[in-house]
Structure formats: structure tokens, C-alpha cells
Symmetry: D2
Subunit: 346 residues, 4 copies
């Protein structure tokens, strides 16, 4: 079958590899129908994080084609959307509903686990990892619920966005835009999006945000101006750069809440004494996956629509072109969707 | 000054009465600029609940014209919108933020307290009772935050409406419509409005609800049909009739939450054994007043708009005509606003 | 094997019946080491609720002796304590963590499901139904976590007992006493226990409650006296009689919360109009099972001990004598434990 | 009157100064009956933070002897315990119940505000700043509710300590010991206290903690050993040293919550990238003052007792000796109480 294979740093190839099969009784095998390229995939390609020879990708929809003996909740032909992480459902962390910390889990398409940018994919712990797609809802509508939309929602939840709150989201990439959309679900009164790309800010605006282009105006001053001089109640960081984190911290009011969603992989020192008298809460880490069902339901009933994020749709056979467009932000790219159907083979 | 005076059951008059003045150091005197007629006013007129000779009305905006020595937070010329209840801010109930149960408080325009449908009104405990109106925001935008919008919000909060929940609101009068609008602020996926008047259901639909006309179709069956056969997660009753309460209870799923906002003044027996094996939560009572600031902020920033409810605007001098229109639901009436400005006198 | 078999109303027998075996791949087979007699068992014996010829009982500890292919989290020799209800873990109700409403579940020892008062028991949905017992912790310490302690905790959670609250528990039977113990875990300032049996009130007192013997003094008046005239913040009903429910409702302050745990199987009318102006919340239904792990942990670390409830320990062979003691409240009985070990046979 | 006066760094004197009087209509004048010495007082003496010539102290009980015209809730002869901070009750921060951030407030005994270690003290914003002491409850029982007990409670609340959680408190000074006591009010299963002074750990043990003397054993390893190798769910830092903060961060499990209560006045860099893949929440800042009433109620009903902290009781006239004992931790000192009664003068 066709698959996007990681061959080492900056070496990604579309190759023919053997089709996977059920290895454990809790596995499901899916025919992948749609996948999406994520910034984490770019991290892996540029910096490592996958075994050479393995496929990448962790945002996906598909159809069940086989299932292990212990898979209870899915059967052949079920359409599914999945978590990027598989998790055991039973360890202390799963009990706390912190699946990305699961002691027996892992990230698809990374650290030796096969990914989903292939015609077929083996999904471990299928009962926990997958969710059914309601009839009639196309893949494109729900594919983001597994990763970027759950992550954006996590940012909003961890920043305790509540009725009447002012919120600023730093970074209008896919995760930041999802956070903007989710802030509306909790009664925020003002949602500010900060980025340096006008075409992304334009989408933020269409999702209901007031926008600040940080290339043109000083964002901290502008956020304060929009919030009576105090800063926002909730700051959500969705870029992961030291500078964005700093801007986010400074834009959040005394006593406010900061949630960092961007991957903080570089040393990012923060002096705790700076904020002692200002009191604040900071949460950092990967997104939780507790609300995929609710997100799917909201999308199904027309209360949430992230369709604006899909700027490019390509066949799996053009995945490498998709990666180039996504990484270089060509042609106003926000999110690239790969359709696997037309690329079928044995 | 001109005032709407209760003279006994079914005897309401527009009269000239003396202008009120500061009686306690915590009072403010306001020139009322806008008031609204509430279903509670109709209850009082039809069934009693005010001392004959006293004014009625408890939904209002105005301008501060005088303030007692202990009023700290308001000064002359401030524009304000107010709670229907005044409360001490210090008793056990106020500490619990249950202002309508205040041991030292009361309802304006009822039980011997002068009301606000007059050119001027004395507002007790002004620091607790009033909220500032942001510059540039007209009275019509915020007047409902004191009573019906706070009540609608309370229904949503007490029914614990949360992300992805299905909600049904029984009764599309002013409070029910406010509950529909507020359910959107908490991430509900499906909001169903039930009433028997098409023109009211039409407004519910414009506020984002799926509608059921209970005169034309059996509402319990229809609600179940819309919710996979189970009933809604949260049922909000906003009419107060035994039949509506029963419909609400039956339309809410096992393990769901019911919040009753309608005034339950007639005996309404409910057999607890009916629901023991179905587990559920029922909350009943007057609305809380904890979120007027947040509601004003949401309106100010365009996230909430109840303008559709205002079907009639009349001068104070035509208050009695307003009462007739409101009570008889003439001319597609939902809410009657009285403008006090043009009716000035000494 | 020996088992307590329901043979029809008021007809319970100790019989030899065939040993159960794994029927479904999600089953576990346990050798029951300890069981307890519950008031629900008495309901079944007196009023029906089990198929004649089936065993009863749903409070138990045991050791895994066999497990179906799909049981992931337990293996032979594991010591376990179990839920009275088995549940699928996947339906809408399980997703809401309302296991007793599971669309695919059931109560052990009732409605045709075999019970646990036998030498061996088949436990459906073992991964969901069972919890491991930490090494060194005897059955007697944890057996109540499955039913009566989880139920008592549910009452406290549903009544939203929080820091500094006053609480009254009506009924000092096993569930009521568990509620008293749990109220301490949420920072209650005053915990009042009401019953008519001094020996039960004595246990309540040793668990930290102020006690009222309703046979000797009017409980509503006394509760109000103990709470500044207002009534308690949280009322928990743990008897299920109309009179106790009425006392509980009257003893709870305006704006307070009532949680009904007692089985309300007889018509119990409640007039909603009585409480409209008093505002309150009422929750009714079977206990949730979300916190067995936490309860076991608290017991393990010495923060919670319900040992005082065990007034009688008998071998399984004397189960019928145990039922008589329990039902007639002989010899100061609160809870009867059956030890299954000595009664072994093939 | 006699007062403890700050005369510059390391220069504290007991002097005769003029008695204060009501300056604003919201002031109360109290005769201070009891005060306590706080670590913040030592900070001020050693590093500045008060105007020379002004009194210090902010932990106190007293009796109302005079009250301004706008004081509504207190009258002469009322016994009171007070917040260390006075606050307006109306600004955005007060609305958020973050009184220590009040835009119109301040800390008694610091930054130019007169303190309470004097025979009389003027208390600004008395309605917000003071709480009544129930009849019969001695000052010593409630004096800590204003500062150290509210701070300890804040640490527990901000670390979201809940049912069955494991908690470690780093530093067994007065605030740390209060956090230990409060963790019991939220159902913690394991409470670990870490310090290097055996006599303080002894008090922690008597308050229900497992103790670690970090001078004798490596605390991170020991905490992990006590928590199944993972670290605690909730880490509370109550010392403010970089090393203690680091130990706290390392002792808290992935996905856990850290609350820093210690005054972080020295640069304390923390690299956010260290914890990104571990996910966690960190809250820092002064304690909230939202639960003084509840704490007083818990003490009044015998559910909470911090009497063990009072190791020294001296007359106000020996305040300087008290400061020496407290600062140098002489004679097993934890907390020094000053009794103002015997030191009366005009």
C-alpha cells in the first residue's frame, strides 16, 4: 500500500509498504479515508522523533476493515475518527482522564509507532482511541476533533474561560484558530487573536475574534487597550515560541490564567518572582482528549464549524507536495487535508 | 410625578403622586428612563401582592439624581440598570450569593415596596442593587439583565448546561427566550423551544432553537425523537403551569437535570417515587442575580442580543395600554418597554 | 456449591446449586470470600425483584479464579471488590459516568441476574465492575466501597456539601452512617444525624455527628435550633419513608440542597409550589460508582474507617440467621458480614 | 498608646505614639486585643517595605471602639478578626474575589499603611476587612483565619486537592502547617510534610501528615516512594526558596498541580520546556480571603484547630523579644502571639 514514510531528518518519501494487520486483540485495522498534516509532523521531519522506515501522521478518519477479538465497540464498516494518542484506559493517568500521559500508550506516527498517512493503519486500543462518525457527516467536518480541535478546547478549559471573560489567543495557526472557535462555547465576551499573518487573522476574524497583527502593532499594549488597561482574563498560547509565551504572559491580567498549548521544545526560562505579587495560574502540556464526543455532537448540530481551516485538499499521492505547502505556508495555507480514496492499491 | 399605581386587584391607574426622596443613607434616587412590564406585574394585578396605592414595576434603567451618604459606588448622572430585588449584601443568604432570599431585602413594586414604573424611583441598598451601564449602550440593550435575562441564565446554570448538552426550554415567553439565548453561552449542541404560539416560536428559532408547537404535535414524543429517544440532558421550565412542568419532567432523560423558573403558585404535586430509579435533579426558585456584570459585558461586546423580544415601545403615559397589550398578547406582543422621558412633569 | 437462593416472596433458602462459569468473554469468575446483606436484599425478599431459583446478594469481595478472553485488567488470584451493578462502559449513560443507568447493565442478585451470596459468582463486564484490593487490606475494610459507601458519598456529592456547610443525614442505617463519614471529607462544619434508634445514633456520634433521636424530640425544630433557626445547607435522606423525606425537606434551609438516597418505592407526593419562593435543589436516585478507587485509597491510608458498622460476622452457612438478625435489627445490628471461606464445598 | 514601630531596616522599636482615629467614613477603630508576628513582618524589617515611623503587623483580633458613618455591619463592642489586606469590594479584582489584587486596597503594616501591633488600630473598609468572632470563641482560636490559615487554604484550593488525592507540603512553617490542616478538609488520602526542623515536623505529624526531614533524606525520592513512584497529585510550596520550589516541582507527578504560597522575592528561573511533555499546572501568588467565615465556623464547631502552632504568648510590651524568638526560631518557636490587654495605657 502507499504510505508517507519517514526516512530520517528532512527525508520524507511516498513509498509502497506492506499493509498492516491486527497484532493485538485490542487493535482495529482501518482503511484511512482522510488524513491531515500537523505541525507536529513537521517537528518530527525537521528534528526527528520517529524511527526511520516508519510512516507518520496522527490526524485521521477511516473505515473499520478488521478488528481484534477484544474490540467491543466497533465493527467492520463503521466510520471512525481517532485520537492521535492511543491509551490503555486503566492506568492512574487514564483514570484521571489525562490520556496523553498514559503509562501504556503512545503517539501514532512517532517514537516507533506506525502513523496514519497510509492507505491502511493499525489502531491500537481501538475502543479507547476511536470515535464513531455520525451518518452523513463527512470526514472533513470531524477530522480535527482528534487533535487540533481537542487541543484548542483544552487550552480554553485550562484557562478556565467562563461567562463574560476576555480571552486572547496568541498564534492563529490551526490550534490557535480552534481555541478561538472554542472560546465562544464558554461565553467569552471578547476574543482577541494575535498573529503576524494577515490571511490567518482574517480567518480568526471570521471565527469571531478581534485581531491584532503583531508585525504592525505592539500586541501587549493593544491587548491592554482592548481590556481597560488590565490585560485579558485568560491568555492562550498556541505557537510555542519564547517570544509568544512572553507576550502571552504580559498580556494576561494580574490574577489571570495562562494556558500554553504550543510545543515548548526549546529552553524557555520564566522567572517565578516576576509574578508572585501579581498572582496567576499557568498550565502547560499536550491537549486532553475528553470531549471528542461532545465536539462531534456540536459539529453535527451545526454549532461549530472549522471548515475555514481547510485551505488545501490533495490526494495521498501528492502528500509530499502537501507537506511543502503546509511547512512553507504557501498559497495562504492553514491546513492540508489528504484524501486517501483515489490512491488505492494493493 | 406620573406613576403606575396599584389600587387593588385588577385596578391599575396612571396617577400623579409625590416624587420620592432619599430615606436611608444607602438609598439612591433615580430618574427612571426606561421600564418594562413583567409577567410578575400581571400576577400582582390579578392576584394581589402589592399594597394599594403603591407603584408597581421592577425592570428598569435610569439616571442617578441623588444618593445617600453611604452610597459609595454611584454618583449623580451615572446611568444604571437595576436588580428587581434589593439585598443587604451581608446576611447568610447574600454570602451564599442567593440575593432573592436576603433576610433584609425585598422586591421593588411588591409587598409594600414602591416600584419603578414612575418618573422617579427610590432604590434601596443602591450599591448592591444597581449596575453601571457602559457609555453608549442604550437602555433597551441592557434593561433585561436585571430580571428576565438573569432568570433565563439562572435556569441554564441550575440545569448545569454544559459542552455538547441537549436542552429543551418549555415556554417561549420572555424568560424562556432568554434561557434559549443563554444556552448558547455554555456550548449546548441542541436547543429545543416548546410553546403553543407560533410568533413566539419564531423568535426562539431566530435565537437558534429548534422549535416544537405543542398545539400541533405531542412535545414529549417530539423531544425524544430529536434526542435519540432518551430525552434532553437539561429541561428548563419557563411557564409555571402544572402541565408544562409535567411535560418538562417527561422530556428530560433519566439522570438529567430539570430547572423550574416559572412561578409555581398553584399546587403542583409531583410523585418522587416516579423518578427514583431514573435518578434526576430538580431545581426550583427565583433567579439569582450574580452575573449582571457579565451579561452587560456580553451585550456590550455583541455576543448577546435580546432586542428581538422588544415588540412594543410606548411612553409611560400609555402604560395602561401597554399592560393590556402585554397581558392579552395582542399584536404579537412579547415584551413592552415604557419610555419615561417624554412623560416628564413635576 | 452453597448459595443463598431466592425461592419467591419471603422464601429464602441456603441450597447447593451448580457452580457458575464464564459465559461471555468479558466475564470474570470469582471465589467470593466475603459478602454483606443489604437492605435492598430485604426489599427483594419481601416484595419481589428476583427470579425464583436465582441467588441474591450484591455486596462482595472475592478472588479471581477465571476470566474471559476480553478481561484485560484482572487475572487469577487478584483480590477484588465489586460494584453491585455491572455496566458496559460505553453507552451514553456510562459516558456521563451514571453507571446505574447503563443501557446494557444490571444489578447483581436481582431481575434475573445471579447474585454473590454463593461460593462462586460470575461477574459480567469484569473490567468495569471490579476494583483491585490493595495488598494487606482485609475484605472487611473495603467491602462497603461497592455499594453503601459509594451511595453515602453520592448523597454528599449531590447535596454539594462544601467547606463550612451544615449537613443533616436522616436515617442512621448503613447508608446514612456512610454519608455521615463522607461529609467529613468535604469540610462540613456541622453534621447532624437523625434516627429513632439510640444504638445507631451512638455509631453516628462516634463517626463525628451531633445526633437527634426523633422518637424523643421534634427533629425539624432541633435541626433549626442547631443551625441558627434556618435549617441545614444540605439535607441527605437515607431511609426512603415519606415521613423522613418530609422531615428532610423541612429541615433544609431556603436555597439549600436535598439529596434523597433512600429507596422511594411508595408514592411520595411533593408539592412543588411549597418551595418555589424558597428556592431549592432536590436530587434523587441510586448512588453513582465513580469514586470506588478513591474510597479504597482513603481507607488504605487510614483516612476513612467504617468498621463500626460491622456488628455481626457469620459464616455463609448461617446466612439465613444473618438475614433474620439484619431485618429485625436484633442484637444492635447494623450490618451483617458473611464469610464464605469456611463454607467451601464442590 | 504603645506600638511596635518600624524605624528603618533592622530597626524596630516599642514606642508611644498617638492613638489613631476614624479618618474615612468606612473606617473602624479597634482596640487590638491579640496580634501575631508573621514572616512577612520579618521580611519588612530585614528588607524594607514600610515607611519609617509607621507601625507594623497585620494579624489581629480586637474590639470595635468606633466606626465611621458608612460602616454598616459592625458596631461598638463587636469582637472581630481581620484580613491583613483591606479592599474596596467593588473593583474588577474584588468582583473576581481576588481581594489581594484590589485596585483600591493595601496591606496593613506595610507600604505606608499603619499596622496592628499597637493598642489601637484604624481598619479601613471595615465592612470588607473584618469578620465577627462568635461569642465564647477566644482570639487565639481564630486569629490565624485572617492570614496564614486563609493562605494555607488557598494553597490547597489552588492545587485542586480533591477526594483521594496525594498531597505534599514543602515547608512546615506556619503557612505550611495550615495547608496540612486544610488538606484534610478536601478528602486527601495522603498528606506529606517536608521540612528540615524536627520540632516543626512533629507538629505536622500531629496534624495528620506523614513527615520527611529533608536534612536526613532526599525528599524527591522519598515522596516518590510514598506515591507509587509517580509523585504527588498536588504539591504545595510554603517556603519561597528556589530550592524548595525546585523540590516541589520535582515531587509533583506528571499532570499534577503545584501551588506556590511562599514569597518568591528572589529571581527563581523555571524552564517551561522541562514540563511541556509532562503537562502540569502552577499557581503562584498571595492567598485569597474568600473563606474566613467558613474557617471560623469550622473552628467554632471543633472541626479545625491550629492551637498547636502557638508556641509563645507574650504581652505587647515584650513584642521585641517576641520578634527575636520568632525570627531565630528559638525555643521551638512556630508562632508568637502578642496579648495587648495588659499593656494598656493612654
Amino acid at each position: 500500500m502507499k504510505a508517507v514514510v519517514y526516512r530520517g531528518i528532512n527525508n520524507l518519501r511516498l513509498e509502497d509498504i506492506p499493509k498492516p494487520h491486527i497484532e493485538s486483540p485490542t487493535d482495529a485495522l482501518i482503511k484511512v479515508t482522510t488524513s491531515a498534516i500537523c505541525a507536529s509532523d513537521i517537528h518530527i521531519i525537521n528534528e526527528g522523533g520517529q524511527e526511520p522506515g516508519k510512516t507518520i501522521g496522527h490526524e485521521y478518519c477511516g473505515v473499520i476493515v478488521d478488528a481484534g477479538d477484544q474490540v467491543r465497540h466497533f465493527k467492520k464498516v463503521d466510520r471512525v475518527v481517532g485520537q492521535p494518542f492511543f491509551n490503555c484506559g486503566h492506568c492512574l493517568f487514564c483514570q484521571q482522564r489525562q490520556q496523553t500521559l498514559c503509562e501504556n500508550g503512545g503517539l501514532l506516527g512517532a517514537f516507533g509507532n506506525q502513523g496514519v498517512q497510509a492507505e491502511y493503519a493499525r489502531i491500537p486500543r481501538a475502543d479507547n482511541t476511536l470515535r464513531k462518525i455520525p451518518d452523513g457527516l463527512p470526514d472533513e467536518k470531524v477530522i480535527f476533533t482528534g487533535d487540533i480541535l481537542s487541543t484548542g478546547l483544552t487550552g480554553v478549559l485550562r484557562a478556565h474561560v467562563g461567562l463574560g471573560d476576555t480571552v486572547a489567543v496568541f498564534g492563529s495557526g490551526p490550534v490557535g484558530l480552534c481555541a478561538v472557535a472554542c472560546a465562544h462555547l464558554f461565553g467569552a465576551s471578547v476574543i482577541i487573536a494575535v498573529d503576524i499573518q494577515d490571511y490567518r487573522l482574517d480567518v480568526a476574524r471570521r471565527l469571531g475574534a478581534i485581531t491584532i497583527n503583531a508585525a504592525n502593532e505592539e500586541p501587549v499594549a493593544k491587548v491592554r487597550e482592548l481590556t481597560g488597561g488590565r490585560g485579558v482574563d485568560a491568555g492562550i498560547e498556541a505557537a510555542g515560541f519564547e517570544s509568544t509565551i512572553r507576550t502571552c504572559l504580559k498580556s494576561t491580567r494580574r490574577g489571570g490564567r495562562v494556558s500554553i498549548l504550543g510545543s515548548v521544545t526549546q529552553p524557555t526560562p520564566f522567572d517565578l518572582s516576576e509574578r508572585f505579587f501579581d498572582m496567576f495560574t499557568l498550565t502547560i502540556g499536550l491537549g486532553d482528549l475528553n470531549h471528542m464526543e461532545e465536539l462531534i455532537r456540536l459539529i453535527h448540530h451545526g454549532q461549530l464549524d472549522l471548515g475555514l481551516l481547510i485551505t488545501h485538499t490533495l490526494p495521498l499521492s501528492e502528500a509530499l507536495r502537501g507537506y511543502e505547502i503546509f511547512e512553507k505556508k504557501l498559497e495562504g495555507c492553514i491546513k492540508v487535508i489528504l484524501k486517501h480514496e483515489g490512491s488505492e492499491s494493493q
